[in-house]
């Protein structure tokens, strides 16, 4: 007691000691201890005082009239010791003297006893429960009221509650054993089923109500109390909601529906989930948030926490915890049966819901979700009689619903979008369905923005320190500093390069950096920190901020799907596809170049016939543009909208690399550099490779972002969509290609293709002069007098190599799949089939081949290698795609 309060509390001095002593005793009493007689014995001079106070408080109902151990209760019970204490009263171990058996005696708090209706209902329930005879249910022997105190005498179960088990497991950090849990929950479900059949719903199944008896079997406690609790003492019910709503079924949370046995199925499922993962299925920072989770969130996947469960068990959990009770197990017995099946590895009855169906179902459920959220918020916010609050409830419910629903819908839409690449005729219905869902979502962006702005209006004032911190922490600001440094460096290098008359790449890089800086400057002063008085506001603000940012990005995603859809619809599928394929399969089989390989029909390719010059079969990739036609000379008529054209390369033996040591050995080239050798012999399987470098238009059709290249496009006169996509990092290129079933070539594949069967320094021979008309490179005369390009050239321009590939040298350099370590080529192993180099550890630099519009002649040699950082973008590096081919393995050659 602090001195102030003491002064306030004790007008009559001399009573201070007694008051303080008695207060300390009361404290112990409230903590479950405190022995009045001991206190009186200790201070005999104040004993009468203490007894008088105690009687007064006892009659006022302020203290428990706690019977001391060994005291008789009623006509035939002897209280032995207290077993536990909770909101619903105190449980004692007692002896029934008539039958000489031990019972658990539950004494209700006298607050509950005070209401006759409650007592009557309680006794009726106890009576129903007492008729339940099942080993898994704690039998009620007797109930009634005695000296104004209501009691229930029930079977005394030795063991511990599942709640205690879970708490121990949590402390140990290891989940409970699945092998033990399965039979336990199977029996618990059967016990529940027995109660359900007797017309009793528990409604409050939770770990604290599930005993693990000493033999390991479950015993369900507190049957009938749940209804009593819910029916009368709202007080206790509100405790319950604060304490254990995590196990409540959605319909229980939402209210408004008569509860049936399926709410117990749900709760048992939730408890099983917790036992298996040591996490509750749904959690939330506030009660409202938790309710929203229960009503709207999908069940988390236990695997995300590293918990490995049998697949069937996960399905059982999903079925038991289905939000719609019609999708749950109809009975606890059905749940028990499936748990048994999981245990004995038999097929279960429940079926997993496929992902797409789930999405569709969720969308269909919108109105239901809206209603239940509304109902819940309504019941939280004031029930049906508060008509003046109706508008408020409605508004809050709608906002919360819209926000939650949209965040979730957005995630699902983004997931779904990933499967729509590239656009193909067979994907049109899916794309259309996707857009139908995407439009309303996208169009709600202004609404969310407005709400975010309103919310930010309620933020606490922006302090100077916060502003300073924001400026410091602003990612744009940090990036700005970085970019300014980079720009200075690039300008310096560019100056040096100009003086030496060499690489101009730095000029382009510097220009691009300058533009990035200008964009970022505008964002430097943004306010990032918003503080709020309430946690709820903060939570809402975080959610909304994320949602708005995601929706802003989503507009681009929608536009891209629209573009792809339009493209598919414009280009369509050639009428004569069947005939083309029949011809193509036959032609490949009859083509000596393919060594008898058989090509099976590919769903996304359109055969274009053989290139008359190379004699190799060519195909267009559907969904990436218009299918080109062959002109009179056999050349493909290509424009900015042409689809990706792939050449079927037969593979086979190929020696890659070059050496300057031995004129008699393969691939001798006096200009060879050490990192190009020693030459290595590969046996490659056939594959499809881009006839052209990937154009800017095609890159966008494959789902790449066009924004990346805008700076460069603006910087370089004459560059349009038919030019190669550059300024894209290795990492991004891989991401986009993988989604479309494409790859970057391995260095071996690239060099094999670039050589076109040659083993000389250039594919045209050992003299660079032969490249004239084939390459767009930096040195014009005398090799490339036809080159009038300052930057890149359209991908389909100039003359191809012997395999019919354009611009393998010059124009844009090309990323390869392999990482580069500066070691001799024979230090590595190469994967069979595509010759991918096996490189140990983490690689940051990747091979770049073929040189670019900036390259000198020596860099255009077939074996010449470059290397760049995979995370950076370069204005002179682009992409040539490879599509792996599933065809019979190459024979020994």
């Amino acid at each position: 007691m602090n001195p102030d309060e003491r002064t306030e509390a004790a007008p009559e001095s001399g009573d201070d000691d007694a008051s303080a002593r008695f207060a300390r005793f009361l404290e112990r009493h409230h903590d479950g201890g405190g022995d009045l007689e001991a206190l009186c014995a200790e201070h005999p001079e104040q004993a009468s005082r203490f007894r008088a106070w105690w009687r007064l408080l006892e009659s006022a109902g302020e203290v428990r009239p706690a019977p001391p151990d060994g005291q008789a209760f009623g006509p035939h019970y002897t209280l032995l010791r207290e077993l536990g204490r909770g909101a619903q009263g105190t449980v004692w171990l007692a002896e029934d003297r008539r039958l000489r058996r031990r019972v658990a005696l539950k004494l209700l708090p006298h607050g509950a006893t005070a209401a006759p209706d409650a007592l009557r209902r309680f006794l009726r329930e106890a009576e129903v429960a007492s008729r339940l005879e099942h080993p898994g249910i704690c039998t009620v022997f007797d109930s009634g009221a005695c000296d104004g105190q209501a009691f229930i005498a029930m079977r005394f179960v030795q063991g511990e509650t599942l709640a205690a088990r879970i708490a121990r497991a949590r402390q140990a950090g290891s989940p409970l054993d699945v092998g033990t849990l399965l039979p336990f929950f199977e029996q618990a479900a059967l016990a529940l089923h027995a109660a359900h059949e007797a017309g009793l719903v528990h409604r409050d199944v939770k770990p604290g109500n599930l005993m693990v008896a000493t033999n390991g079997a479950p015993v369900i406690l507190d049957f009938g109390l749940a209804r009593y609790v819910e029916g009368e003492v709202e007080l206790t019910r509100s405790h319950e909601i604060i304490g254990t709503p995590v196990y409540m079924a959605p319909e229980q949370v939402a209210g408004g529906k008569a509860l049936d046995r399926r709410c117990d199925v749900y709760a048992l499922g939730a408890v099983l989930f917790e036992c298996l993962t040591l996490r509750r299925p749904f959690e939330g920072p506030t009660q409202e948030a938790l309710f929203r989770q229960i009503l709207t969130a999908s069940l988390p996947d236990p695997r995300q926490w590293g918990v490995r469960l049998p697949r069937d068990l996960v399905v059982v959990l999903h079925t038991a915890l289905a939000r719609e009770r019609s999708e749950r197990y109809a009975t606890a017995a059905a749940l028990a049966e499936d748990l048994r099946c999981v245990r004995v590895h038999a097929p279960i009855s429940a079926r997993p819901v496929p992902r797409l169906r789930r999405l569709w179902k969720w969308a269909r459920r919108h109105p239901a979700t809206a209603t239940s959220v509304l109902l819940t918020l309504a019941s939280l916010a004031g029930g049906t009689t508060v008509s003046t609050w109706a508008w408020l409830r409605e508004r809050a419910a709608q906002d919360a619903y819209r926000q939650l629903a949209d965040a979730r819908l957005l995630r699902e839409q983004l997931d779904a979008e990933a499967s729509l690449y590239p656009g193909r005729p067979d994907r049109v219905p899916a794309m259309e369905a996707w857009l139908q869902k995407a439009y309303p979502l996208r169009d709600r962006l202004p609404l969310h923005r407005a709400r975010l702005a309103a919310l930010r209006g309620e933020a606490l004032p922006y302090t100077e320190e916060e502003a300073a911190r924001d400026r410091a922490q602003n990612r744009a600001a940090a990036r700005l500093g970085e970019l300014e440094q980079r720009l200075a460096q690039q300008q310096r290098l560019a100056r040096v390069a100009r003086q030496r008359g060499t690489r101009q790449v730095m000029e382009y890089e510097a220009a691009a950096t300058g533009r990035q800086i200008a964009t970022l400057r505008d964002r430097g002063d943004q306010r990032l920190t918003f503080h709020f008085e309430s946690l709820e506001q903060r939570f809402l603000h975080d959610e909304l901020t994320r949602l708005v940012a995601d929706l802003e990005a989503f507009a681009t995603t929608v536009a891209r799907v629209e573009e792809r859809l339009a493209l598919v619809e414009e280009t369509g599928t050639p009428q004569d596809l069947e005939a083309r394929w029949a011809a193509a399969v036959a032609a490949v089989q009859g083509n000596a170049r393919y060594d008898g390989h058989r090509l099976s029909r590919q769903v996304d390719l359109v055969p274009l016939g053989d290139d008359p010059r190379s004699g190799l079969a060519e195909f267009a990739l559907l969904g990436t543009g218009l299918v080109p036609q062959r002109g009179e000379g056999g050349d493909l008529a290509c424009g900015p909208d042409t689809a990706v054209v792939l050449v079927l390369l037969p593979g086979g033996r190929c020696i890659c690399g070059a050496q300057a040591d031995n004129p008699q050995a393969p691939n001798y080239d006096p200009a060879a550099e050490p990192m190009e050798g020693p030459p290595h012999e590969f046996f490659l399987e056939g594959f499809l490779m881009g006839k052209f470098e990937l154009s800017r238009a095609q890159w966008m059709h494959l789902g790449g972002s066009a924004r990346v290249s805008r700076a460069v496009v603006a910087a370089s006169h004459g560059v349009d969509e038919s030019h190669p996509m550059t300024d894209v990092s290795w990492v991004t290129a891989n991401e986009v290609l993988q989604r479309c079933g494409l790859q970057l070539p391995t260095e071996a594949q690239w060099e094999y293709a670039a050589r076109g069967g040659s083993s000389t320094a250039y594919f045209t021979g050992d003299n660079a002069r032969g490249l004239e008309g084939h390459v767009n490179c930096r040195v014009r005369a005398p090799y490339a007098s036809a080159d009038h390009y300052l930057f890149t050239a359209p991908v389909a321009s100039m003359r191809p190599n012997p395999f019919g590939l354009h611009h393998v040298f010059g124009n844009a350099a090309e990323w390869c799949r392999d990482g580069v370590l500066l070691e001799s080529s024979d230090r590595f192993e190469y994967r069979a089939g595509d010759g991918e180099r096996v490189t140990p550890g983490e690689i940051e630099t990747y091979a770049v081949r073929g040189g670019s519009f900036l390259s000198l002649a020596r860099q255009l040699r077939s074996a010449a290698r470059g290397m760049r950082e995979g995370t950076n973008r370069f204005v002179d590096v682009g992409i040539r795609v490879v599509r792996p081919l599933d065809w019979p393995k190459a024979r020994d050659r």
Binding site: M1, E5, E8, A9, D15, S19, F22, A23, R24, F25, L26, E27, H29, H30, D31, A52, W53, L56, L57, S59, A60, G61, E62, V63, A87, P109, G111, T113, A114, A115, P116, L119, A145, G148, A150, E234, L235, T236, R237, S238, H239, T286, Q287, E288, L377, L380, A381, G382, G383, T385, V386, T388, W389, L392, A396, E458, E533, S534, L535, E536
Partner: protein, 194 residues
């Protein structure tokens, strides 16, 4: 953790409707149950539907939230219960005035009574008297002590909840405060012999 009641109340006093709704959702069930326990019998005698009457009273109390002063030790919950209870009593009185002369007169004295199981008339009288003495004694307690008893007695709050409600550091502090309050209550009751 939930947003502290204090902040919600401050916001609500600035007419922030979301805050009002949150407060209402947080306390409605509990105050309604406490009202039912304290005045249920009287409401039924007065021909009111207990649920609706309690509901209306809570909303009316909320409407007067500007009158609540958060002095740092005060409990919003206790204030809410008190105000709502007064509201119910006023309504009962009004109803009583309207119905005066008819046969269904309300026993206004029953208004503050808790009910006991199967009470006999003399039990009822004794209980009513005790309750009156307790209320009279509570009025004389310092605010924080009165509130801790109200929270425990009528709202059945746990010590953790009391600590949160009265912004005490721990449940132990709540227990200590309740114990001190009860000693003083006992001494007050001692001083008003029944």
């Amino acid at each position: 953790m939930d947003e502290p009641t204090r902040f919600l109340v401050q916001r609500a006093q600035r007419d922030d409707r979301d805050a009002l709704a949150t407060l209402l959702s947080r306390y409605r069930a509990r105050v309604r149950a406490a009202l039912e326990r304290m005045l249920g019998e009287a409401m039924r005698q007065g021909g009111m539907d207990g649920d609706d009457a309690a509901q209306d009273a809570i909303v009316a109390a909320m409407a007067g939230i500007h009158a609540f002063e958060h002095r740092g030790e005060g409990s919003f919950l206790a204030w809410l219960l008190q105000t709502a209870r007064n509201e119910v009593r006023q309504r009962l009185r009004r109803q009583h005035t309207l119905k005066r002369g008819s046969n269904s007169a309300v026993d206004l004295d029953a208004v503050s009574e808790p009910r006991s199981a199967e009470p006999s008339p003399s039990q009822v009288a004794r209980a009513r008297e005790l309750e009156e003495r307790i209320e009279a004694a509570l009025v004389r307690l310092p605010a924080a002590e009165r509130e801790v008893i109200v929270l425990r007695r009528y709202l059945d709050a746990s010590f953790d909840e009391i600590a949160a409600e009265l912004e005490l550091p721990t449940a132990g502090a709540a227990r200590a405060l309740l114990s001190r309050a009860q000693v003083r209550l006992a001494r007050e009751l001692e001083g008003t012999p029944g």
